[in-house]
Amino acid sequence: MTEFQTFSKMKELMTAYYFEAKTTKEKPIAWITSGAPVEFLFAMDIIPIYPENYAAMCAANHQSVELMEAAEAQGFSQDICAYARTDFGADILQGGPVGGLPAPHFLLCSTNICKTVIKWYEVIARKYDVPLFIVDTPFVHDGLTDDLLEYTVAQFKDLEQFLARITGRPFDHEHLAEVLRLSQEAAAYWKKILFLARTVPTPINSLDSFIHLGPIVTLRGTQGCVDYYRALYEEVAGRAENKIPSVPGERYRVLWDNLPVWFKMRRLENFFQERKCALVVTTYANSWGGLSNYEDEEMADPYRLLAASYLNVYINYGFEERIRYLSGLMDEFSLTGFIMHSNRSCKPYSVGMYRLQEELSQRTGRPGVVIEADQNDPRVYSDAQIEARLDAFIESMEAAS
C-alpha cells in the first residue's frame, strides 16, 4: 500500500473501537449492515458492530477459509455470500482477528446492499434471541421519487420509536442532528480524498482506499472519524500537490468495479505496480461519500437527506443509472480502462456485468475486462487464470494507447 503516515492513526482508531465494543458494560451493542442508517444508533449512544467489516478483516488476515468451513459444516451453502459464511463461522468458533464479535442486544439491517442480509440477520436474531429492525430501502429503477423518500422516512420514524423502547429513553433528536453533521463531514472528506485521484499521477490508489475504508464504514457520525479523514485528506492533498505518485511510473489508469478481493490485496498490489497500472477509482469505495452529496436546501429536512443518501447507493440503482455513473467516472478520472470483478458472493453487484462491460466499452471506446473471483473465498480464486485475463487487458490498453 502507499505509505501514508495517517495509517497508524487508523489502526489506533479501529483498535479502540473494537476494544470498547468488546469491553463495554454500559453501552448497548447493535449489529448493523454497511448501508444502514447508523446515525440513529450513535444518536442513542449505541455501539454499532459491522459483521461485513469483520468478515473482510478475517479474509485480509487469511482466516476466512477456516471460518467458512465451520459455517458450511453447519449446513450453510457454499452458494451464499462469503461474508455471511465467514461471520457465521467467526460466531461459531469465536474466531478472527479479535476473537469473535461482542454479542448483540439487537440488530439493524438495510436492504440497499442486498436481500441476503434479511435472512443473514434473521439467523443471528434467532441465535441470540434479539430483536431485528429491517429498513426496507426499495430498488431505485428510475431516479428518486417522493414516494420512495416518504416510504423510507416513515421507517426512520419507526426506528426512532424502536430505539427508544430498546434503551428505555426518549429518542434524542438533538444528538441526531449533531451526529448527522459529523457523518456528513466525514463523508465529505472521504469524497474529497477519493476525488484527489483525479490528479495525474494519482496520489492514492484504490487498494489504499479499500484499506482506509474502515472508519467511514464503522465510525461515520463520530468526531474521531472526521479527524481521521481530515488528516488523511491533508496528507493525500500534499502528495497530489507535489505529484508524488502512488504507483511509480503510472502508465495506465483504471476503474475497479465491485468489492475488493480481500485475501489477494498484496499480490494484486504487486501485480499492478509491476505493470505501472494504477487502480484509480472504485464504485465500491465511492459508496460511502453519498451523505455529502446533498448540501442544498431541498434536503434541509434531515430525514429526507438520510433517506436520499441511503437509497442512492450504486448497487441499489438500475442499469441505466449505473452506466451513466460509470461513463462519467471514466472521463472525470481520465481512465484508460476498467476492471469488473464478477463477485461470486455479491450477486446484486455482479448481475448484468457482461452487458455492462459491453455497453461501457462501446460508450467510452476504452477496454474493459470481467474477472471471476470472490471478495472473501480463496477457494474459488485462481491466480494464473485471473492474471492471464488482467495481463491481456493491460495489453489491450497498451495497444489502444
Partner: protein, 259 residues
Amino acid sequence: MRFWGGIDVGSLSADAVIIDEEGRLLGHAILPTGRDSREAGSRAYAGALEAAGLTPGDVVRVYSTGYSRARVREAEGAKTEIACHARGAHALYPDVGTIIDIGGQDSKAIQVGKGGRVLNFVMNDKCAAGTGRFLEVMAGALETPLDHLDELAAQSTETLTISSICTVFAESEVVSLISQGKKPADIAMAVSRAIARRTVGLATRVGVSGRVVMTGGVAKNRAVVDLLAEILGAPVDVPDEPQIVGALGAALFARDERG
C-alpha cells in the same frame, strides 16, 4: 540470416517455433508440459531448433506466452496468449476476424482488428468445462486416445446428449451412457457437441465477424470443428498446425521488437 523464437508453455502442452525475417516457419516442436513447465519450454525450444537445423546462437531473440510464460528460461519478453494467438492467426490468415482458441484449461474467443490487433476477448469463466482437459477426461472414460476421438465420433448414428457442464459430472454421464450400452461413437459425438455448444456461447458473446479461425489443441478434433461451423452457421478455418499459433505469435512479437 537472422532468426527468432516463440515458446508457448500451456497447462497441457509446450510448443515452440523458429521463424525467419519474413515470418516463415522453419521448425517447430510440440511436447507435453508434464510437471516441470520450465524444462518443458526448454525441451520444446531445443526441438524447434533441431527441426530448423539451427543452434541457440543463430536466434536473435525469444518471446514466451502461455500460462507459464514468466517461467521460460530462454525468453527475453512475454506476451499473453490472447495477443499471441491474434498475432499468429493474423499472420496465417490476414483477413481473420474472429479466433476461437481452445487450449488445455482455457477457451477463448478473440475479436481481431487491423494488423492482428485485439479488439475484444472473452474467456471461459473460472470453470474449465469446455476446454482441452474436458475432452481428455472424456477420451479417458471412453478408453480412446484423445487424437482418435474424432474418428470415433465420425461413426456416430444416434444423437445423444451430455447435459452437464461440469467435467466431473459429465464424466459420470459418459460412464452411465456406456453402462446403458450406448455406442462409444455416439457418446464421442455427444461429448464433441457439448464442447462445441459451450464454445459457440463464448464466441457469440464476443461477436462473430469476418473469417473464423480456430487455434489450440482442440482444433485438431475434426468433429468439434465441424460442429462449431454447423452451429455458428459459418465456415471455420484451421491452420495446418493449430497448436503452434500462440508460439508463432510470440516469435513475431520477438521479431518486431527493435534491436
